[in-house]
């Protein structure tokens, strides 16, 4: 499952972040977005989705949302 397919508003655990872009993955790490951490999709729309990571809200494009796979809590 990736962020584009899971239910909105339900907390999931990140399984993998696979973008092929090391700098980006390091950056995501500093936000607390890495395997084992909780993530919640707040809302999805055409082209992007809003997520909650730790106590912050972020918007990411579909491409990045698909690169983050999650598992049920």
């Amino acid at each position: 499952m990736d962020l584009m397919t899971i239910q909105e508003g339900r907390e999931h655990i990140i399984d993998r972040v696979q973008t092929g872009d090391e700098a980006l993955e390091n950056f995501l790490f500093t936000l607390g977005c890495y395997a084992g951490e909780p993530i919640t999709v707040i809302a999805r729309r055409w082209g992007s989705c809003t997520v909650a990571i730790k106590d912050g809200r972020y918007n990411m494009d579909t491409r990045l949302a698909k690169a983050i796979t999650v598992v049920e809590m």
Binding site: T30, A43, R45, G56, D61
Partner: protein, 664 residues
């Protein structure tokens, strides 16, 4: 004593810095507003007798430099060794912020934590046990609300107390681990434990709230773009058509009482100066230099100040409320199609105030090609200095029609999109190759007082520029126009023999295909416009001897002055529109080119960018003039064949560049 303000992006460092030092650095409710370090002395009110320098650093999420701004921050702390670090922590996002805090605590530099935005926590019922946090982190924690200057006296006092002390490492086990992902994961879990110990929440971030519902509307794929367009339209409409002109021209109440506008006051001042000089029987040439050359040119520019200031005020409110981050979300899918990042919308919006900070704002775009494209294209957005030029032409040729200004902004946006496609074609970068992520800050009520201060400080800069660069340019233009090549005064009606006419004539010849006539005055205005765009207005005012460009008394007079100005210029409306576009979209002022140079690093990108701007401006204005003339008169305008050759050469070069990339 030197203290460094360090913390996550959008934690409020610059607001603290401004409050402590009395400076007026740009702030905004989004990540990445500050891209360079800034230093200033702290006000005596806070520091007392001690001299304390505060250093405001760009936001960072960690000590490992993943972004250009983090690099600046990390390097500064490591190399410059501030006496005390003030770590500004967003109290509403402890679980992320304290990661960086734990890294900072291991540097051995005395530290104080400013737990900022505690007002948001109060509203949400989140409680943080500061004493416990302070005990666990082995450093003082001071609660602050930087926007209201709350807690800052206590913060500075705590900072002074920390000077010269030894900073203990709160988690020695973490510090001893070799740097890397494994250690950082432990760090995050340590932070998680810590937050659990000190924080109690009633509202959880993972739950959808009212702000999310607002987001759903503002970032809606169908509604988002019209909302964005409406917001920007409103900003320009208010500054250029509603409030700005009232402040410039004055306002007459129903009972006949007239509140004078800025232009009215300037005119009165000018008349007074002329009168006094006449009375004193001063040298007529010097009188003319002072009243027509210097005061005339400068006042023509200053007259537009209200329009520019209202624009700055509104842009400041827009930055403050948190909408900018949403605008990037709305435009990202659209921008991606032409190979730009959605984050490029920030440089473009900031660029409507001034291209220099706009170009610098492009630093937050991680992908290099996307960043370079944004830097090259930001100057296409008409900036505050171009606003007087737009207003002058709209007033003189189009009866102050508001569509002229709106059209220019939309033309700017369309040019940006088209040129982004072209740049991608030429450089061969893959527009689908980048990811996009941006933090969505909490909305807040914009601070009118701060926006007012911001407006005044930028208005002050505008006046300063008018009083220095523009004054000198106008004086030089006046002198060059008054003397011929043998340094004799130019005789009446022989203006074409002046030094200025000689220098500007070659440029004037190049402008025939977009003006229809060879007007050296227009050419001179274009050239001085490269120094500062307001110069276009100043130079035209000096060359044609008209300085009252915004009129004072009602619509009839306004139309009267407009037609008069149009008649003096001696070009058609179509030519006026073409010339206006040429000035707006041709390479910007020196300051902006300097900023482009600093950001692009590679000279090929810089020269490519300038060539692109020149080519686009020339082609567009050529097409506007020739097609417009064809439609209005039935035949193409003067200089058609020459212009066509130039445009064909441009097209050939561009095609060649695109094909070359394909072969590679």
């Amino acid at each position: 004593m030197k203290i460094a303000l360090v913390g996550n992006p959008n934690s409020g460092k610059t607001t603290v810095f401004n409050m402590l030092t009395g400076r007026n650095e740009t702030v905004g409710n989004r990540a990445g507003v500050t891209v360079e370090k800034k230093c200033a002395l702290i006000k005596k009110l806070y520091s007392g007798e001690q001299e304390i320098t505060a250093v405001d650093l760009p936001g960072a999420y960690s000590m490992s430099a993943y972004t250009a701004e983090e690099h600046i921050t990390g390097n500064y702390i490591k190399e410059e060794a501030p006496d005390v670090i003030v770590n500004i922590v967003d109290a509403a996002n402890l679980s992320r912020s304290l990661f960086f805090t734990t890294q900072l605590l291991e540097l051995g530099i005395p530290m104080v934590i400013a737990l900022n935005k505690t007002d948001i926590n109060k509203k949400k019922g989140t409680r943080i046990n500061c004493e416990e946090l302070s005990r666990l982190l082995c450093c003082p924690v001071v609660e602050t609300v930087s926007t209201r200057a709350e807690g800052l006296t206590a913060l500075v006092a705590a900072t002074v107390r920390q000077l010269g002390t030894e900073q203990p490492t709160p988690f020695p086990a973490l510090a001893q681990l070799p740097q890397g992902k494994a250690a950082d994961k432990k760090r995050f879990s340590q932070v998680k434990k810590l937050v659990a110990q000190v924080e109690t929440r009633k509202v959880f971030t993972k739950d959808r709230n009212a702000q999310d519902r607002v987001d759903m509307i503002l970032t809606h794929p169908a509604a988002g773009i019209p909302i964005f367009a409406a917001v920007m339209f409103l900003v320009f409409q208010v500054s250029q058509s509603w409030l700005g002109p009232v402040l410039a021209d004055g306002y007459t109440f129903e009972n006949g009482f007239t509140l004078p506008g800025l232009v009215t006051l300037i005119d009165a001042f000018k008349e007074q100066v002329s009168f006094l000089l006449e009375q004193a029987e001063a040298n007529p040439f010097l009188t003319a230099l002072l009243t027509e050359g210097i005061i005339g040119g400068v006042s023509a520019v200053v007259g537009f100040l209200p329009l520019v200031m209202v624009l700055y005020f509104l842009l400041s409110l827009l930055e403050d409320c948190g909408y900018m981050a949403r605008a990037t979300v709305v435009l990202d899918p659209l921008f991606k199609k032409v190979g730009l990042s959605g984050k490029a919308v920030i440089p473009f919006i900031v660029g409507t105030g001034c291209a220099v900070p706009g170009i610098m704002a492009a630093r937050t775009i991680p992908n290099q090609n996307e960043r370079n494209a944004a830097v090259m294209l930001t100057p296409f957005m008409p900036c505050g200095a171009k606003l007087p030029v737009i207003a002058l032409f709209a007033g003189a040729f189009f009866k102050d029609a508001t569509w002229v200004g709106t059209l220019m902004y939309f033309a700017g946006i369309i040019l940006i999109l088209l040129c982004a496609l072209l740049v991608n074609r030429i450089t061969g970068s893959d527009p689908k190759g980048s990811y996009f992520i941006i933090e969505l800050p909490e909305y807040k009520l914009p601070d009118g007082k701060r926006a007012f201060r911001d407006m005044c400080s930028r208005g002050g800069e505008y006046i300063l520029k008018a009083g220095t660069v523009i004054l000198l340019c106008n004086a030089a233009i006046f002198l060059m126009q008054s003397f011929d090549l043998s340094l004799q005064p130019v005789a009446e009606g022989m203006a074409d023999t002046s030094i200025l006419a000689h220098i500007a004539s070659p440029v004037a010849a190049l402008l025939v295909p977009i003006l229809g006539v060879a007007a050296w005055q227009m050419a001179a205005a274009t050239v001085t416009g490269f120094i500062a765009k307001e110069n276009v207005v100043g130079t035209l005012a000096v060359c044609y001897g008209i300085s009252n460009l915004i009129d004072t008394e009602g619509l009839e007079m306004l139309e009267g002055a407009g037609t008069q100005v149009a008649a003096v210029f001696g070009i058609t409306r179509v030519a006026a529109l073409a010339f206006l576009m040429f000035n707006l979209f041709s390479p910007p002022c020196f300051a902006a080119i300097g900023a482009m140079n600093a950001e692009l690093k590679d000279k090929r990108w810089l020269f490519g960018g300038i060539a692109l701007q020149l080519a686009v401006a020339y082609t567009l204005s050529f097409l506007v003039y020739q097609v417009g003339t064809l439609i209005t008169t039935g035949s193409v305008g003067a200089g058609f064949s020459g212009g066509l050759i130039a445009v064909l050469v441009i097209a050939a070069v561009v095609t060649g560049l695109c094909l070359r990339r394909k072969k590679l």
